[in-house]
Assembly symmetry: C2
Homo-oligomer: 122 residues x 2
C-alpha cells in the first residue's frame, strides 16, 4: 500500500480488489459505513473496538484516495468530520457479501462464533 492508484501492475481483478481491502480494519470500516450511512470519526472509533486513532485515520485516508469513502469536514469547534461510502465503496461492499458468508460458515464450523454484539449479516 503506497501512493494513489496503488502498487500494480495487477494480474487480475482479485489482485486489485484485495489490495484495496487488505488492512486490519478496512472490512470493518466498510461494514460500519454501510450499516449507518454516515459516521463521524469518533463514532467509527467506538465501532471498531481496539483500533488506534492513527490506524483509523491512516485507513480512512487510504480508502478516500482509493475512492471508497467520502470525507466531509465541517468547520466547527470542536471539529466534526463525517465519513460515508461512495458509490464505489457501496459496490465493493456488495461484492464482499458472498465472501462474508463464506467466512461466516467457516466460523460456524469451527465454533468460533462472531461477536453477537454486532448482529450484522457478514
Amino acid at each position: 500500500m503506497a501512493k494513489g492508484p496503488r502498487s500494480g501492475p495487477y494480474v487480475c481483478g482479485i489482485d486489485a480488489a484485495l489490495d484495496v481491502v487488505s488492512g486490519k480494519w478496512k472490512g470493518l470500516v466498510l461494514w460500519e459505513l454501510h450499516a449507518h450511512g454516515v459516521r463521524r470519526f469518533s463514532e467509527l472509533r467506538r465501532g471498531l473496538p481496539g483500533v488506534s486513532e492513527k490506524m483509523l485515520t491512516q485507513h480512512l485516508r487510504q480508502m478516500e484516495e482509493d475512492g471508497l469513502v467520502h470525507r466531509e469536514v465541517h468547520a466547527q469547534v470542536p471539529p466534526k468530520v463525517e465519513y460515508s461510502l461512495t458509490e464505489d465503496g457501496a459496490a465493493l461492499n456488495e461484492a464482499l457479501r458472498p465472501l462474508g458468508e463464506w467466512g461466516r460458515h467457516r466460523l460456524h464450523r469451527e465454533n468460533l462464533t462472531t461477536t453477537p454484539a454486532h448482529d450484522h449479516p457478514y
Copy 2:
C-alpha cells in the same frame, strides 16, 4: 498470519475470509488451481511470474492448514507433489468472483488493463 486456526477472534465473516486470502499470491494460487484442477509445484511457480520458491511453499502450506488446498506427495524420483483445491477452496473461489469483477471494472476505469496473457474472468 501465524498458526493453524488463525489469529481471531474475528468480528465477522469478512474478517475471517480476508485473513485467509491476504498474502501476495493467495488469490493467484486459488485462480491457478481453479483453472487447471491439479498442478504441481513447478507448474504453479511458472504460473505466478515473480514468485520465489520460499513464498510459494509458505503460502501453499498456510492454505493447506486453512483447508483450502489439498497436497499430495508421490514418492518418486524426481519428487512429484500435486496441489488441488478442496471443496472449501472451491467455494471460496466462487465467493471471490464478485470481488474479482468489481476489481476488473475498476482496472478498466483506470486504464490499467489486466495482462491479457491470462485471459481469466477475474
